[in-house]
Symmetry: C2
Subunit: 367 residues, 2 copies
């Protein structure tokens, strides 16, 4: 890839991207993968959830006239959108441009992503008959993703690519509610009211999510993240009984795939240890729990990802810098730390602030 502005990446051995004569370590030995394996460098690797997307003018220009789902199924667009923030911010990882509903759409579930609303499901899944629309995912269903990942791995060189999928609970919430929900009331009512149907639904969704991740790993992704965005809506008891077995069924079989598995949700302070036990090498933490406290809850050997409050990026730089330094310091309590936000980049974020955050974090290895 052309990384004109990224004249330095913080490899442990001091090699830089701008010096092509230096032998490049593989992406699989990148700072991100090494931190995920519990081998932290002098400063944490950094990427941002939703780094590819609405905060970037070049993204908005590229997306003009193309629907979200069409963009997510076009290998050239996926590749370019995924690369944009890597070029601009010099982050230590790319995250595949996609959406958690892409594999559901790929198996024929009628879903549209409505601007300003989110995924809208034409026929919500609430009965055993509705389950029929959830057939297994095959690699051919998402050939555009496989093609994009291959192209990206080639373009990115030693910058690792993170693949991702939505976790069974969060996918189920969209399917059962018919769209985004603040309270997940129908989802919880189904979970408690018809546990048999619930577990059948989550079993199918786990199969789909796992296969979607496997396609990305087989095509060369260097890490994967399982997003359980809304798991924090659940009590620990409900999470353990109704969700954890299915998230585990996504992550555990991928243990031998050789790539780190990151697991993230919002507002999951009570769930962190359970989420780790699902088979996560790295647990993403939102800003509500400091990373040192999160490490304590996760137990020995834990690797954390997070957790700058994305809203803070809208404040002045001295506020941002202080908060970044605090997050880095708190992350030292863990066995490894991947710097990220506590949730996705907000659309109004000034992209120059993101670039500056990356530069600041990289500079910390010099201090």
């Amino acid at each position: 890839m052309q990384a004109r502005r990224c004249d330095r990446t913080p490899w442990d051995d001091g090699r830089t991207m701008s010096n092509p004569l230096t032998p490049a370590p593989a992406a699989a030995a990148s700072p991100l993968v090494r931190a995920a394996r519990g081998h932290p460098g002098a400063s944490p690797p950094v990427w941002f959830m939703r780094q590819a997307g609405r905060s970037l003018p070049e993204y908005r220009a590229l997306r003009a006239g193309t629907s979200m789902l069409d963009a997510c199924r076009d290998p050239a667009l996926i590749t370019e959108i995924t690369l944009q923030p890597v070029r601009r911010h010099c982050v230590d990882a790319a995250i595949l441009f996609s959406d958690i509903v892409v594999p559901l759409v790929a198996v024929g579930v009628p879903i549209d992503i409505v601007p300003g609303v989110g995924p809208v499901v034409a026929h919500p899944v609430r009965t055993a008959d509705d389950l029929a629309q959830l057939r297994p995912l095959t690699p051919a269903d998402v050939s555009y993703v496989r093609e994009a990942v291959r192209s990206l791995v080639s373009e990115l060189g030693r910058v690792p690519l993170i693949g991702f999928a939505g976790a069974p609970f969060t996918l189920a919430s969209y399917l059962v509610e018919g769209g985004p929900s603040r309270d997940h009331a129908r989802t919880k009512a189904l979970m408690h009211g018809d546990p048999g149907l619930w577990h059948a639904l989550l079993g199918r969704l786990a199969d789909i999510a796992r296969e979607f991740l496997r396609v990305q790993i087989d095509a060369g992704a260097n890490a994967v993240q399982l997003f359980d965005s809304w798991a924090g809506a659940l009590s620990l008891a409900d999470y353990d009984a109704f969700v954890l077995p299915h998230s585990r069924s996504v992550l555990e079989p991928l243990a031998d795939a050789g790539v780190p598995r990151i697991h993230f949700g919002v507002g999951t302070g009570e769930l962190l240890a359970s989420m780790r036990s699902a088979g996560a090498d790295v647990v993403g933490v939102d800003w509500r729990v400091p990373l040192d406290e999160a490490s304590r809850r996760l137990g020995p050997g834990a690797v954390v990802q997070g957790n700058l409050d994305p809203a803070l990026l809208l404040a002045d730089w001295p506020v941002v810098e202080r908060a970044v330094r605090r997050v880095v310091a708190e992350g030292r309590a863990a066995s490894g730390h991947i710097f990220n936000l506590g949730h996705g980049v907000l659309p109004d974020t000034d992209p120059d602030v993101l670039t500056r955050v990356v530069a600041l974090i990289h500079s910390l290895s010099d201090e």
Copy 2:
């Protein structure tokens, strides 16, 4: 009041509402107030956040053709809507029908409550000049509330009335964002970017909230609840630095008013001890933290309120009954427990289920 269907309330001494010959203790000595003071009875007193409202057909009938803000400023409507759930469910407390923006509207802030959206602020507060619209609240500004409380106290007899106000942070979020917000980004940016303006804003809001509660107490309210609905969006460090002093400035001066002060927010598992330290006699807990764990976090002598997941009320009765019994059992770890939901009643809730929950809880004192 006429309490035709409430033929029994669980006074500790066995007196019943249906026996008028029995001397009635004052509402101030009701099970709710006693539990709040750390003197629990054989079963917890119970009320529901948003018990007066959209789940009740008689409420929807009464509200037809009347805007939310008009209803909140009509003493007869406030009184009748507040009484409806007490008559129907036989709950152990009434909660004043109002809205957290009512005192802001009363001092002249141009706010509308838009159905399906929530409060919308015509001119968001983001500068020192904008602060000028926040003049102090005087009792005359909310004479309709004073009148309604007086009427309610007379109608309710020994059923206590809970007054309420929105807490400074949650009010500020509406004012700064201009309406409901998922991420509170502008609010947090102001908080960190201009702490002087932030504290001036929250100071004014604290004065308004405290005076609004004082009007209700002076008119006869037997308890008050300070709603900091969105405080759970903050880290503990931000809460302590930017919010706690102002919530304290609402609650502490009311210590000598002689009524219990309840303090509640959603997703506040990390903040519970701080919220108690604001001057709360009772801390409301959502369903994410079990009440026994919440009691541990709150420390010795804590009284808790909560915490059934309102979404569970949409499941079948055996699920509801099991969950209610679990919550009651977990509440025994505290020095007092007021049964409630972990957030407000959802609009789709079957009101008969709420009635049945109240009856179940009252029946527990017989077991």
